[in-house]
């Protein structure tokens, strides 16, 4: 059991140290100054929209030349409207209340010691993410609002876009007197930049991976700094025997079709055998929106358009207009299936039986568990958090949508008058 600390190139160590130092500067800045910096970022995004789009065009053209698929191109692409959207998101974050300094617990001990637990920034928040350049701005804004420095590692597909975005945000925060290193990127260090985050113990206080399941798996496995796992969602809806048929049709359609590429969209629908009569209506509504159905034998008898589901289907996060459907004999079988295949993101039961609802809520071990609602509601915006860093699927520190509060830690303040311990 030996652990060898990672050796970083001096220039990369300097980058880590600069972030840590900038985090100290932010910790001493007032909420008003942090908000002023957010305002400066908002203005810079609008003023430099053409420069951002021009850099983005370089990324898009390189992507096209390398055969990037249309969906990915779309996620990468910035337009004047989308840049405006980035600025608007910064404005929303700016308008939220300051999360820092809140007293969480407070007590006076019998010996007179005054003990208070307060909310403080983490320090340096690391993020490793993929193609979407909006993440660069979203995470920077949330971190700045919560008093944290960020050290970013974006996807190589968005290299030029991210370079311009980071550069203009650094100028913006420097213009109000905050340390520019509060927002920094390690993209110029290639693979070693990712190591600077994953192995940056003492420099990176928390690391948030956002992207594909394989990216998240790699970050979780290789990191020695604390990680908050986000996102991957093999999401289930269980249609109980007593479900309202019309609601089931609407909710399943909404959960799959409203935005199929995101983590809270449904991937598997489990149907109680007694609810089989609802299947044709559910299937037709999905098929009418172009959804591909993968189903077991009992359902295929009712829905000839469905292809045969394989074992792989139950474990697949399609993130597209595809869904798997399976008949179960009981609530217990549904719970057993969910236990086996869920990624602990969101699961819902559709039922009129409140005893079954309560069993489902208690037994299913996921970040969000729902009764008679679309799984698409697991979302920071919907929960009223204003913006979100991601959706945590782990149980440590944050579970479910992560807003500003989830980017903070705590600290115990003890005020005495000379007390020693007996």
């Amino acid at each position: 059991m030996t652990a060898t600390p990672h050796e970083f190139a001096p220039v990369l160590r300097e980058r880590q140290e600069a972030s840590k130092e900038a985090a100290r500067g932010l910790n001493q800045a007032s909420a008003a100054l942090r908000d002023e910096a957010l305002g400066a970022i908002q203005d810079a995004l609008i003023a430099q929209s053409a420069r951002i789009i021009s850099a983005n065009t370089v990324d898009i053209d390189r992507g096209k030349a390398e055969g990037m698929d249309e969906g990915l191109q779309d996620r990468l692409r910035l337009t004047p409207e989308r840049v405006q959207g980035l600025a608007d998101a910064v404005a929303v974050v700016r308008s939220l209340p300051d999360p820092l300094g809140t007293v969480l617990r407070s007590m006076t001990l019998p010996n007179g010691l005054d003990v208070t637990q307060i909310r403080v920034p983490f320090g340096v928040v690391g993020a490793i993410y993929e193609a979407r350049p909006n993440v660069t701005v979203d995470i920077s804004a949330l971190a700045l609002k919560s008093g944290n420095a960020v050290l970013l590692r974006g996807g190589s597909a968005a290299l030029e876009s991210n370079k311009v975005l980071v550069s203009l945000m650094r100028e913006a925060i420097a213009s109000v007197g905050l340390p520019e290193d509060a927002i920094a990127s390690v993209d110029d260090f290639g693979r070693e930049g990712a190591n600077a985050l994953m192995r940056g113990r003492g420099y990176v206080d928390v690391l948030i991976p956002r992207g594909s399941a394989s990216l998240i798996e790699t970050v979780v496995t290789e990191s020695s700094v604390p990680v908050i796992e986000t996102g991957s969602g093999v999401v289930h809806i269980f249609v109980d025997a007593s479900a309202d048929a019309d609601q089931a049709v609407d909710i399943i359609h909404n959960a799959k079709v409203q935005r199929p590429s995101v983590c809270n969209s449904v991937e598997t629908v489990l149907i109680h055998r007694e609810a089989l009569p609802m299947v044709p209506a559910i299937a037709q509504r999905l098929l009418s929106s172009g959804v591909t159905l993968h189903a077991d034998e009992a359902i295929r008898e009712l829905v000839p358009e469905a292809t045969a589901a394989t074992e792989d289907d139950w474990a697949t996060e399609y993130l597209s207009l595809e869904v798997s459907l399976k008949v179960v004999e009981s609530l217990d079988e549904a719970l057993e299936h969910i236990r086996r295949y869920s990624t602990h993101h969101t699961e819902a039961i559709l039922t009129a039986d409140m005893a079954n609802a309560e069993r489902f809520l208690n037994d299913v071990d996921s970040a969000a568990v729902m009764v008679n609602a679309s799984t698409r509601f697991t979302d920071g915006g919907e929960f009223g958090f204003g913006a979100e860093v991601g959706i945590s699927t782990q149980k440590l520190h944050a579970r479910g949508p992560m807003g500003l509060t989830e980017l903070t830690s705590t600290k115990w303040i003890v005020r005495g008058t000379g007390q020693s311990r007996e």
Copy 2:
């Protein structure tokens, strides 16, 4: 960036699965039943005291034969009084309020969705620890109270003691109808047992290492499951120019001598140059209790008994009757030294200058920061938590003393009436 999942022997995988299944059983058990199980453990410890001590004697004899030092023998040793102490600790844990089910946030969204965040168990809590067999009982009791299963990997020095303790706790919880696998050990799997915890993604929800700095470093570096780092404490006290001299003598003596082997005892005392006149009294009080002093030149001129401190001294957690002393020119220099050498556990300032106190409280990035009090107060018992799992020195999830609350996660419960997302 590829990650290969760890392949476990089938028998070890079964152990992990049994823990996960037992956690489900616990999650469905009432608080009254969990308390009844704690009572059964308490009774079994007393009833089987002789069997425990006999197994412990085997460990002690093996340790002696292998040349184990006296201090370690003492930490390993169980006596009738110490076994009674274990049972008493279980009784204290049993008497605490149930931490589960509490509503943390609750809101009704504009669309009528009822959203509630409640406190739930983690599931399976892993612990890797060293010689002290009391940890086996303490962590099991805290986990049981908070509805978690435990999977334990104790030190090989305490193998026979832990085997008996785990066995009697399993019998005790089974006797009240809880799954015996809620308390299990992987000690019989050697090194692969530690891997079962560190690489047990999907089976271990949180892993707590307790022990030496090198043990903790290894666990943090090698784990792919979420870890809560505990314990290591290079703790500082800064004596400001305006400190009360008598208080400084008392507090520093208390912080070093009252229990030198623990993480919240002071290791380095920084002294403002203007406070140098206090040094002889501080030093004499420490020397009178047999403390070895490692000091810089300015202090050695006043205290000839002190040896010359080396660079290593500033980074050393002595955990014994040794302390390092250093003169600083200013609060800034003290803060700079702490930033460089602190392990972010506990630091204190002794001062009559409240502006300096506030700067210190704000600037020092540690789990607990104190003014005019002994660092020994960073302790779950002192903070009124009843018992503690350890003291977290990381910022994610838990920071400072960890009690029952820190062994829980949360879950979002969403109740609808057919809502879909717009």
